[in-house]
């Protein structure tokens, strides 16, 4: 749903359409772009890939975020009762040829199945670059923190080897700058939404972020800037009538089915902690130090993440502070079915929210999106918050 303020939105609608188009065409646009530009495209399996390194090599990093089509091959390699829908969908695209246009794939071992997915992928594909980053499973010792930069350097070396060309510090710093710019612009968009909730629907915001994961950051920066210009000049009807929410989770992929229920219900999202959302862009990279060190530092100091195993408490605090700071009425946690790293942190988060008296609803999503029953639960949750 796009919010319509008569007369004034047309301009913005046009810009938004470009994000939505980029998102809908998914990989088709990219094939054309590749043909036209002669550049290489590298698929990054979510999450935690330092895309800047790929970008600095003159290649286009895109996020592999599944697809809607039929799954017929992937279940011969990974059981649907074991692998989440993102793993299956991405593998299917590898097996059915959809991703043949990629020059490389990069994985980080953020969950139990990804390293094995990587090996399965390797057996069935012919990308020139195939790389698994084996990240430390905790960050609480000097050696494990050192390992982060080692793994980033290893990725850099693998890319250099494939391109037969060094990635200079200057190029890497430039890429970090482009990405930081993107992070700042998206942050501005989020700040705007926070001040003027209802300015953009949740689905629209999701389209803006998604598009950025599928196109050149330089192009995305321009588009977001354009959108911001238009939005910043829009008057917004402020209203206290709407229920205000935080949404968290949905690791590795979108949860548009949940967002559209929220939109349709007339609730506003103030801020999110979604993978396709603030988790993707929140932390900036230091532009003044050694670039690999800077990326590693960002990885270590980033917002709390279930992939990095400090402590689920940190994530729980982060989310609950977000709700309190933004004065939201409640939080919806979207959990991808079979995502063990999220499922394992959830009890701690739930406890924290319950103890803080923060209304919380957990919704599990599968391939087909949100179930009818869960739609009703979301509606009831929003209704309940509206009454309070």
């Amino acid at each position: 749903m796009h919010l319509i303020v008569p007369g004034e939105k047309l301009f913005m609608e046009e810009t938004l359409k470009r994000f939505i188009a980029a998102k809908q065409s998914l990989y088709d646009n990219l094939k054309q772009w590749k043909k036209a530009s002669g550049k290489k495209i590298v698929g990054c399996h979510p999450m935690d890939i330092p895309e800047e390194i790929v970008h600095a090599a003159g290649m286009l990093p895109i996020t592999l975020m599944g697809f809607d089509g039929a799954i017929t091959h992937a279940t011969r390699s990974l059981q649907p009762t074991i692998a989440c829908n993102i793993l299956l969908e991405n593998l299917e695209m590898c097996l059915n040829g959809t991703l043949d246009f990629l020059d490389g794939v990069i994985f980080a071992d953020v969950c139990d199945t990804i390293p094995i997915l990587s090996d399965i992928w390797l057996r069935h594909s012919h990308h020139v670059l195939h790389h698994l980053m084996v990240m430390p499973k905790h960050l609480n010792s000097p050696s494990s923190r050192r390992r982060v930069s080692e793994q980033f350097l290893r990725l850099k070396a693998a890319i250099e080897k494939q391109n037969n060309k060094k990635i200079s510090d200057r190029a890497l710093k430039h890429s970090i700058g482009v990405y930081n710019q993107n992070r700042r612009l998206l942050k501005r968009l989020y700040d705007l939404r926070l001040c003027k909730p209802g300015l953009l629907s949740a689905s629209d915001v999701s389209a803006v972020v998604t598009a950025g994961m599928l196109m050149r950051k330089e192009d995305h920066n321009q588009l977001v800037e354009q959108l911001l210009l238009e939005l910043e000049n829009l008057p917004v009807p402020t209203s206290d009538m709407h229920v205000k929410l935080i949404v968290s989770g949905s690791l590795c992929g979108h949860c548009d089915s949940v967002l559209s229920v929220i939109d349709a219900q007339g609730a506003y999202i103030l801020e999110d902690d979604l993978y396709i959302g603030s988790r993707y862009f929140t932390s900036l990279t230091n532009e003044d130090i050694d670039p690999i060190e800077a990326l590693a530092q960002r990885y270590v100091d980033d917002i709390p993440s279930p992939t990095k195993f400090f402590d689920a408490n940190a994530w729980a605090n982060y989310i609950s502070n977000m709700v309190i700071r933004d004065k939201a009425d409640g939080i919806i946690i979207v959990m991808r079915k079979l995502c063990e790293i999220h499922a394992d942190d959830f009890p701690c988060i739930q406890n924290k929210l319950n103890n803080g008296g923060i209304p919380c609803l957990m919704i599990e999503i599968e391939r087909a999106g949100v179930s009818e029953q869960d739609k009703t639960r979301i509606q009831a949750f929003i209704d309940m918050l509206g009454v309070q």
């Binding site: 059981q79 094995i116 090996d119 499973k137 050696s143 079979l338």
Partner: protein
């Protein structure tokens, strides 16, 4: 048809060893010993050398499974927000911890003073599981991260992984000195490692390798049961005695041509985890004169010894070299070799619900091994301990059909 399988006498000895050990654990407070909960692949010698008593939560869950209380414990953790999609071992153990003093666990593990988790098998759940338990008991948790070496890993990757594990083990030793306020006892460590290494060699020769004989003197059931002392007691001389006895007993069976199942006709391979249904499955197979002679799990689970004069290096190496830590191709090669070495006729390949690190390898490995060796496999879904996700009737039907398939292949 209920078949009684001949038991190894060592099983009785083991029972007594464990009664004594758990007694020691329950007296830990009085005897001023500290208790550490550790994951299966952890170098527990490091702790034994500093007088810690060790508990393995995964083994605890298996014990709860065998005692028939695991499902209820799993339900308790689910009531506390843990997803039923998490691995059964984890849900069971957390359920038990959440119940505190009221736990239904038959052994009632004493609370830990310290927890140590080692991350072989690219398993994230085990880290989270330990993190959750350490939060429940509010005790320190030490994590040793053993990097996964995938199919693209190079010699350099291996070396950097080795260096990283060594660093972490050293960090852990420093931590232990602070925690116990004592200097680390390297002499004791070498002693512990010497016992462990001797126990391993005896286990390997006397049990694991012995199954290559036709008929096999033991079944996977024995293999699993007799891993217990390897886990709990390997830093002690008792383990060495135990495995020496066991070896003698098994070799005597070999000398007498005695098989673990009557008139062994088929030799099976179990490509799966320790599992509550192994005893009944072993019996079921025996009723078809089929013996599950070996499997992947015992290999995943044992730590080979090495140069004990360089303990940290040796422990790091054995962690890195574990099959658990290796990619798909290595796994396929390992299974292929075992299938050939043990003259296997069929593979039983349960997909263990929730256990992604092991189960995600399953389909590709089985398909490829079948292509390479012609040995067929039987896949079905189950859970390690949670009876809600297992159907005896269904498995029986599937096994029966599989046995018919093997029969027909013989006839051809």
């Amino acid at each position: 048809m209920e078949i009684k399988l001949p038991r190894l006498k060592a099983q009785t000895i083991q029972r007594q060893l464990f009664i004594d050990y758990w007694q020691e654990l329950h007296n830990a407070k009085e005897s001023e010993k500290k208790v550490a909960w550790v994951s299966g692949m952890s170098p527990s010698e490091l702790l034994s050398a500093m007088d810690f008593l060790i508990i393995y939560p995964m083994n605890h869950s298996a014990t709860c499974g065998a005692a028939g209380v695991a499902t209820v414990l799993c339900e308790i953790s689910e009531q506390n927000g843990y997803s039923p999609d998490l691995c059964g071992y984890q849900r069971c153990d957390i359920g038990s911890a959440l119940m505190g003093e009221q736990t239904l666990s038959p052994v009632r593990p004493p609370r830990p003073d310290l927890m140590l988790v080692t991350s072989n098998q690219q398993c994230h759940q085990i880290f989270k599981w330990f993190e959750n338990i350490s939060r429940i008991y509010d005790v320190p948790l030490i994590m040793v991260d053993v990097p996964f070496l995938d199919d693209t890993a190079t010699k350099d990757d291996e070396l950097s992984a080795l260096k990283y594990v060594k660093e972490q083990l050293q960090e852990f030793i420093y931590f232990l000195e602070g925690f116990t306020k004592r200097r680390y006892n390297y002499d004791r460590l070498q002693e512990c490692m010497a016992y462990a290494s001797a126990a391993y060699d005896l286990w390997y020769e006397g049990l694991f390798n012995a199954a290559k004989n036709i008929p096999s003197p033991i079944s996977t059931f024995d293999l699993f049961i007799h891993l217990g002392p390897m886990l709990y007691l390997r830093s002690r001389p008792e383990a060495v005695d135990y495995y020496r006895n066991l070896k003698d007993e098994v070799l005597e069976r070999v000398a007498n041509g005695q098989g673990a199942v009557p008139d062994e006709k088929f030799r099976l391979f179990l490509n799966g985890m320790n599992w509550m249904k192994i005893p009944s499955l072993a019996k079921l197979c025996a009723s078809y004169n089929a013996c599950m002679v070996t499997g992947i799990y015992p290999l995943l689970f044992t730590l080979k010894g090495g140069d004990i004069s360089r303990p940290v290096e040796t422990m790091a190496k054995s962690a890195i070299n574990s099959l658990l830590n290796r990619g798909l191709q290595t796994r396929i090669n390992a299974v292929e070799n075992l299938v050939r070495d043990f003259a296997i006729d069929g593979i039983i390949a349960p997909t263990i619900r929730g256990c992604k690190p092991i189960s995600s390898f399953q389909l590709e490995t089985m398909r490829e091994v079948e292509r390479l060796t012609g040995v067929p496999n039987l896949e079905f879904e189950t859970c390690m301990v949670d009876t809600r996700y297992h159907s005896d009737a269904q498995v029986e039907v599937r096994i029966q059909a599989f046995m018919e398939l093997l029969e027909n292949r013989v006839k051809k």
